[in-house]
């Protein structure tokens, strides 16, 4: 009998339109093989599933990645896609200062999703390969993340650098959260009679 354990995590990808949410998700999902070279606006939401093995364990976290539309037109529909989410990744584009300024608005949105309480959020800066066009510095990103207790990552989907790290962090955190809940429930159960 197999002792493999599969955990499931619903991860929301949020941020302004055109920051590269879909590029990040598709590059990660295809292990770097499919960076979308032309822009296609995400309508409502794209969903994909990616299993992540947790090192040194028999645990696989199946990430249900909800790549949500960033365009304002879809704002009113987002809450229904966010129900019972377990984690989120906030995305901004380092060449687009507006996308960075919009982060507080996205955090406000995240606060309304009550299922998300407890999990630590993740902030991802994209397009770092375009150094000459950069308008948000690493320091600014790190400071914002620190202020709001987010984990901070920088990546470039176009050059497939560091796109896995934020997802691995979410998967690991999800596994730790599960073990913590299991410990609490096991302890409570042991006291039953």
């Amino acid at each position: 009998m197999s002792t493999k354990l599969i955990l499931r995590n619903k991860c929301l990808i949020l941020g302004n339109a055109t920051v590269g949410k879909t590029a990040l998700v598709q590059t990660f999902h295809s292990d770097g093989a499919q960076f979308p070279k032309t822009y296609g606006m995400t309508i409502h939401a794209d969903v994909c599933v990616k299993p992540i093995n947790i090192p040194d364990t028999n645990v696989t976290v199946e990430m249900f990645i909800f790549d949500l539309a960033g365009h304002d037109v879809f704002q009113e529909y987002l809450p229904k896609y966010c129900r019972s989410a377990s984690s989120y990744i906030l995305v901004f584009d380092v060449t687009n200062a507006d996308s960075f300024k919009a982060l507080p608005k996205w955090l406000q949105f995240v606060k309304q999703i009550k299922d998300l309480r407890g999990g630590r959020g993740v902030l991802v800066a994209t397009k770092i390969d375009q150094a000459f066009r950069r308008s948000v510095t690493t320091q600014q990103g790190e400071e914002f993340a620190k202020q709001h207790n987010l984990m901070y990552f920088e990546c470039s989907s176009a050059t497939n650098s560091d796109v896995e790290a934020p997802f691995y962090f979410v998967a690991n955190a999800s596994h730790e959260l599960f073990e913590e809940h299991l410990r609490i429930i096991s302890k409570a159960a042991a006291e039953m009679h």
Binding site: L7, G118, A188, A189, M192
Partner: protein, 155 residues
């Protein structure tokens, strides 16, 4: 004359789990049928979650008691057919968050319900993961035809 009701949802009396949406190697769904509150089935993420309990023969259900943790909404359905299909709602209940104390769902259908399979759906939880410790189903083996069928036909 009065015989204490039997728990039909015990593996030792032939009940089994037909399916479950989560499988933890140490906390498999079968543990809800061992009559023990200390052992439990653990969900492994996402909602809804569900499991189906199958009885060896049709039974007439008079009461269902489920012990769980962190469940926000239970929906219970029954199927009379040999194959677990054509489920019909039996009852549902919104639960209160009791923190880390056992919650108890207690459902007593107005009319006894005939079932070969019972589906227990957890629509939402108070946390990302929930546990179910014990399912107790009181009832009688077989279909209590004399009492129920004419009533059902008339109403």
């Amino acid at each position: 004359m009065v015989v204490p009701p039997d728990n039909m949802a015990l593996a030792s009396s032939g009940a089994r789990i037909a399916m479950a949406t989560s499988e933890h190697p140490k906390h498999p769904p079968e543990l809800v049928l061992d009559g023990n509150l200390k052992t439990f089935w653990m969900s492994t993420g996402l909602f809804p979650q569900e499991f189906v309990v199958t009885f060896p023969t049709q039974i007439t259900v008079s009461k269902i008691i489920v012990s769980s943790m962190k469940v926000a909404q239970w929906n219970v359905e029954a199927s009379k057919t040999d194959k677990p299909s054509s489920f019909e709602p039996l009852g549902d209940q919104a639960m209160e968050d009791t923190d880390n104390v056992i919650q108890t769902l207690s459902l007593a259908p107005k009319e006894p319900v005939v079932a070969r399979h019972l589906r227990f759906e957890i629509a939402r939880g108070f946390g990302p993961f929930v546990s179910v410790h014990r399912v107790v189903v009181y009832g009688e083996r077989g279909v209590a035809e004399a009492k129920n069928v004419p009533q059902a036909a008339e109403s």
